[in-house]
Symmetry: C2
Subunit: 415 residues, 2 copies
């Protein structure tokens, strides 16, 4: 069962917004066993909508469109679908009453433009949008299901989850898609590929392996599309277990678990606490931990000691030490971690100090040079790491390395 996702809106084509709708739609279709064959973004142009939709319907039995359902002149999806599928428009009293109620509650005039949101093509089934004013629409045509949803992410999300998916599951007899993802760290993509070469060669043709490298991590995804669930489910689990046995020391997690999630879990379970002192990573590490619900159980404090004086005032790093060794040095990284641990009264403290660039690099310490340290109740570790050449990359990688340093130490201590 194939699907095509079409997102409509000039704002996507000029790069004014990031399209997250298609990500969420793809994920939900996948979970239900529907293979997304293609994603397409086109402008608010009737001919283009018709052309793309026809092409999609030739290869996919499910087409999901988002966008272009607002009340203003630039929104043309509804009219275009009505004239393509035929039968004219009708006025939906239930939608009209809902739109009026919603607007009145928000103190907004119910005018002709809003009333027009209750006009729907005669040939569609209305998907009632509890969270917004533009209804979703479900068309059945030539063996295909075409669904049109509003582009506002949380309205689309609710309609997809509560209306579209249950209907698709009832309408089609769906098969299964199985994905398993192994998260590895410590081996470059090419080295990892060599290490598991024989295993990869021996995979049956219906199991697909993908490498997804990102800062400090390579994810390996094993996928089977539209299979007989039970047998393939067992097979994929066996292959997955073999894979883990090939590289036990490099496995850091499964599916989408991140290294910070591992640390979060370990610290929470042990009742231990954390502080961070960041220079080049500028708050990124603190931000990764505090983004997780429950972080307040262990996260004591973060200090972004960007200026040298802040390292001295806030962390008690000796100003002479900074002068003598430089802010980017093993000595200062250690003093920052120990200072953070002390001032925050935490069990562990991580620190980073480095040259994020683009300026500030030297022959001896080029852009990307980062010293990081971890202070624990027993000792302080320090590591120097080359974290790339681009500012964003240096911040990403240094944060990932530092968190990994903590994870490794926590794992060592638990043995």
């Amino acid at each position: 069962m194939n699907a095509t996702i079409i997102t409509i809106g000039d704002e996507i084509l000029i790069g004014q917004i990031v399209d997250t709708n298609s990500v969420s739609i793809a994920r939900q279709l996948n979970e239900a066993g529907i293979v997304v064959h293609e994603k397409c973004s086109i402008g608010d142009d009737a001919d283009e909508i018709v052309r793309t939709l026809r092409r999609a319907m030739a290869v996919s039995q499910v087409v999901v469109l988002t966008g272009g359902l607002g009340p203003t002149k630039d929104d043309i999806t509804k009219k275009t679908l009505a004239s393509l599928f035929g039968g004219g428009m009708r006025f939906d009293e239930e939608v009209a009453a809902h739109v009026e109620r919603m607007l009145t509650a928000r103190g907004i005039d119910y005018n002709a433009l809003n009333r027009s949101q209750a006009e729907v093509p005669v040939c569609c089934t209305v998907l009632f949008n509890r969270h917004g004013t533009a209804p979703g629409m479900w068309f059945e045509e030539a063996g295909c299901v075409v669904v049109s949803l509003p582009g506002v992410p949380f309205e689309m999300e609710h309609l997809m989850r509560e209306e579209v998916m249950p209907r698709l599951k009832a309408h089609f007899a769906l098969r299964q898609i199985v994905h398993r993802t192994l998260i590895t760290s410590g081996l470059a993509e090419s080295v990892l590929a060599k290490r598991i070469e024989a295993w990869e060669e021996a995979l049956p043709p219906y199991l697909k392996l993908a490498y997804l490298p990102s800062a400090g991590v390579v994810r390996l995804r094993l996928s089977a599309y539209e299979v007989d669930g039970e047998r393939i489910g067992r097979e994929i689990e066996e292959r997955f277990a073999e894979l883990q046995r090939l590289i036990p020391a490099y496995v850091v997690g499964f599916e989408t678990a991140t290294v910070e999630e591992q640390v979060h879990r370990m610290l929470t379970e042990r009742g231990e606490t954390l502080a961070v002192a960041e220079s080049c990573t500028g708050g990124r590490i603190a931000s990764k931990f505090t983004a997780m619900a429950g972080a307040s159980a262990y996260f004591r404090a973060g200090i972004v000691s960007y200026a040298n004086e802040a390292k001295t005032t806030l962390l008690g790093v000796d100003a002479d030490l900074i002068r003598r060794c430089g802010a980017v040095s093993e000595e200062v990284a250690r003093a920052m971690a120990e200072g953070a641990r002390r001032v925050a009264g935490a069990d562990y403290a991580l620190s980073t100090t480095g040259i994020a660039g683009p300026a500030g690099g030297t022959e001896e310490k080029p852009v990307g040079t980062v010293w990081m340290a971890l202070a624990t109740p027993e000792r302080t570790l320090a590591v120097r790491q080359a974290c790339g050449t681009d500012r964003g990359q240096v911040i990403d990688r240094a944060s990932a390395f530092a968190i990994r340093l903590l994870r490794d130490e926590l794992q060592r201590r638990s043995r």
Copy 2:
């Protein structure tokens, strides 16, 4: 001049990653006067790549592909392009030497898989990738330019900016695309549309108006595609000024420059400095500023005072005050901002303290309640803001609100 962007990778189709590459590419093409006609995401499948590329070349003179250039078996873009455009492969010594140097510096084995990255189609021009191991490729075929770039965002970004755009500008005689965006707040989309109806009706056909509603804000974008720059430039400015005069009280900003970029520029120009004290935003604000090159000129320090004791130890907030008023209160927000300003020796300091959720909400202070304060040389402002119901959303919105508070104050002071 039309362009098609094709992003390649199964991970996009299953919703495992958000495609930000095409956003950045679209923006750069647009700025140079190239109209992005369509964006497409397809899987790592040779037939599909060929089919999509052929279709794109029939309607666009510029096709940019990303992804599928890694060293592993699932990366097939290079081979597919070589066989489509013909001529076989050659070994590029310069790329090989660069790959070896890069890997050696990172302590990674230079093996057969990595060496294969230096294999390039004979018929392409190599776009040298200083920041990674997969080279970009430039093909000219049947009047079209086809560019293939690696999918790692910052590698793609550098190649696009430093190699692709200068070459496209030299290769084609490009016309202009002009966009002006007015950011409004306080009028619902439908009410706004009614308010500016006569102005919209009177727009000439080559000026296109788009409505882009999002949380609390409606952006109005006026666009002219591939025009004679000077005359249309004047025309669009006049219409844009008329539009502003229709809704002066609802205009909150222009274009897509982020608020933190505005603050970055203002502080840098004035030689003034900033500190932040974050509780619920957990380092996000510090991280937004320090992500920008040159932030060290004004960013002194950030304190993520997550635990109450950290508010006292690091920022000097009276422990009694916290007990009396609660950590999420106007008084504590003010004391945090003033404390951060003092300990960091900065001209301005921002603070946030709130309930990010999912736990911790009460009747009086539900999840999403955030107090934020700004301490300046003359006074301290404080604002309470409801920032939503989802943890990620609360952190995002609270960070955005706080930075906007600073931007508004900086603008007031410059008048």
